[in-house]
Symmetry: C2
Subunit: 403 residues, 2 copies
């Protein structure tokens, strides 16, 4: 098999851990597989470089930042390649440029446009293990670029797609995807498989193992993605096409997002375009809206409630306050003491009654549902934050995820 | 003027010093000059990376080492560029590759083959200050290479030659070239100017300010080289063509090299080719020979004395011992308690009596001269190490270098 293995900052956090990664890669190679390794910077290294830059400027040139920040991954990649040679392997470290990762010109948050895998294919043909510096590429001007948050995962997935690898393993300090957060429900079980779409719902709902960006690319390029731990040999979770999961369960996982705040707008004037005006202004301020509900009041005005990320709340308030000033809204209120509990599963597409069970589970536990949002494979409920654990455990049991 | 300024590891040793360098560059720019800055890694950084690599392997792949070691200079270059922007300048950091430094394929000790200054010229035309990561280039395969010891100086000189800079300033913690080591002779004076050939003699004689390699390239490309300190505004020493020095003094400087050992071969058999055999074997063992004297003994055998670097003594002994074993040499002896004192000056080309004064100075101080070697612009004398300071001070006074 041709396997891409990606190791994050914690997995290569110091020289001993890099040595451990070398042993793991070596074992896989000795089983007869071809391997491309993608590495992040040693944990703390990127933050150190950012601190250095901020010592000089709060607003440094993004091109210079990319030259600075791309160093961390180059260091890890060359060290790991050197460690692999000492274990008797023929290996070579490659920068993003050498690996053929071509990006657009958006420094510090570039998008991968294309991968030219020629150099990698040649090296694989010669039996070499390739160690690629993740998180970086090169733009059309020949300047190094970086891919932003989660960039090394993205490098790995894009490379796996470009060279048609059989597997792309993302190693972190977490052993896989669970039916829910094991810190809340100790009966949570690790999933063997999960579909791209379910994983996308979980990623956007705040599961921190993988970023949506990488899962979306894996889906697009049809990459078999595995998330597993670098600290043991435990098998991880395969994220793949829905068709490859023989018997998809009705519900795969219960997700919890505590990072939500609710904004309530009371007495929104009933004139054309006012709601769209509010949400356009929020979009301009880069506030992402999640759940929205709207209802007519008996006096002819409208109440609109919506949720935003807690980190966007300040910006959202500024926008909304303007509308209160002009009188287009009577009053506004804010609530950070909420959370969003979601039931995710591709199986619910073809089964009725999944939502009903969620609502009755809430009722059985005396939890009031403030807002509801659904998609084809997800039911999200906004509730008071104090009920978060109770709701998660109740739903986990109701859908028999501990079985 | 178009000025290349190179700052070594000590000058950019921490964030405050990088800030100081930014202020210095800024002042030069504000005088209306165009500037290309070349920087080394922060002092200690390269050693740290070498230690990391040696943690894994005593014999790491040299290509991977180059990817590793080139990171240090990239970090300094991007930080300095960011600091310059904060001072209100338009600046851009460039890797060796971006600056167009093309080298051969000898990883970790590559030679510069060519410089394509297109990107630098464009940036200069736009009024930008360029900050180049020194010590590195790129080979014909597109892989990063490093230039070995003194590599950043070499980057600066080569760039200055390629873009026909008016001046190439090398900033170190030393304020220039002195008539002799001021720690030995406090009356030593800083030279305003010195010719390339004199500097080459001084560099090869152990003056540590500049490596021969950079001076040779400056001579070849006719680069006006200045060595000066980054810790004050004191003027440095200009190293230039002999023709540009109006009144060259008879003698410019007295150099001392303590790093020599003497090897004496007694009773070398008087058969054809034996001496050349010995020196060929020494060359194969990469032992550099400096001064040689040979004299016939009255019994028909020959005595040969020569000096080598102390660091080569071990290798030299191994070679010589083989000849003693076979009986081609009767006996050998070694002396590390020697040093080499040299009188350097282009003026002596056209003046007699310079050597005579050196010898009589030794005699006046009761110093026995063991060996003598001369070139057109240099007289070297090997003496017992205990007389080193006495000889240096005596010669410094005899040639009136304190005037």
């Amino acid at each position: 098999m041709l396997i891409v293995q990606k190791f994050g900052g914690t997995s290569v956090g110091d020289l001993d851990r890099i040595q451990n990664v070398a042993h793991r890669v070596s074992r896989t190679k000795n089983k007869g597989h071809d391997i491309i390794v993608v590495v992040s910077a040693m944990s703390g290294e990127t933050n150190k470089l950012v601190d250095y830059a901020e010592h000089f400027s709060k607003n440094p040139s993004r091109g210079d930042m990319d030259m600075l920040l791309s160093s961390g991954e180059r260091i890890t990649a060359s060290l790991l390649s050197i460690a692999l040679q000492e274990l008797g392997h023929d290996s070579v470290a490659m920068t993003g440029r050498k690996a053929g990762i071509l990006t657009d010109t958006s420094h510090t948050k570039a998008r991968i446009e294309n991968i030219n895998p020629r150099a990698m294919k040649e090296a694989i043909k010669k039996g070499k293990i390739i160690v690629v510096a993740g998180f970086q590429g090169v733009n059309e001007h020949g300047d190094v670029t970086t891919l932003g948050r989660g960039g090394s995962d993205l490098s790995a997935v894009a490379i796996a797609g470009a060279i048609k690898a059989d597997l792309c393993e993302i190693y972190t300090d977490v052993s896989g995807i669970y039916t829910t957060d094991p810190r809340i429900e100790p009966k949570a079980k690790k999933l063997d498989k999960i579909s791209y779409d379910e994983m996308l719902e979980l990623a956007s709902l705040g599961a921190k193992v993988l970023q949506s960006r990488s899962v979306e690319m894996a889906k697009k390029l049809n990459v078999n993605l595995v998330t597993r731990t670098s600290f043991s040999d435990e098998e991880g979770t395969l994220i793949c096409k829905e068709e490859n999961i023989m018997e998809a369960p009705l519900v795969s996982a219960i997700a919890l997002d505590r990072n939500q705040a609710r904004i309530s707008l009371m007495g929104v004037k009933d004139k054309p375009g006012i709601a769209s005006d509010i949400f356009n202004k929020l979009a301009e301020a880069e506030v992402n809206i999640d759940v929205i509900i709207q209802n007519k009041s008996h006096d002819g005005t409208t109440n609109i409630d919506f949720t935003v990320l807690v980190s966007d709340l300040h910006n959202a308030k500024s926008v909304v306050d303007e509308f209160v000033k002009t009188g287009d809204i009577d009053a506004d209120s804010y609530n950070e003491e909420i959370c969003k509990v979601s039931v995710v599963g591709v199986g619910m597409k073809s089964h009725a009654g999944v939502a009903a069970k969620a609502f009755s589970t809430m009722a059985d536990n005396n939890i009031n549902i403030n807002m509801i949002a659904t998609s084809e494979i997800k039911i999200s409920m906004v509730i008071d934050e104090k009920y978060a654990e109770l709701a998660v455990r109740g739903l986990h049991e109701a859908y028999e995820l501990d079985k």
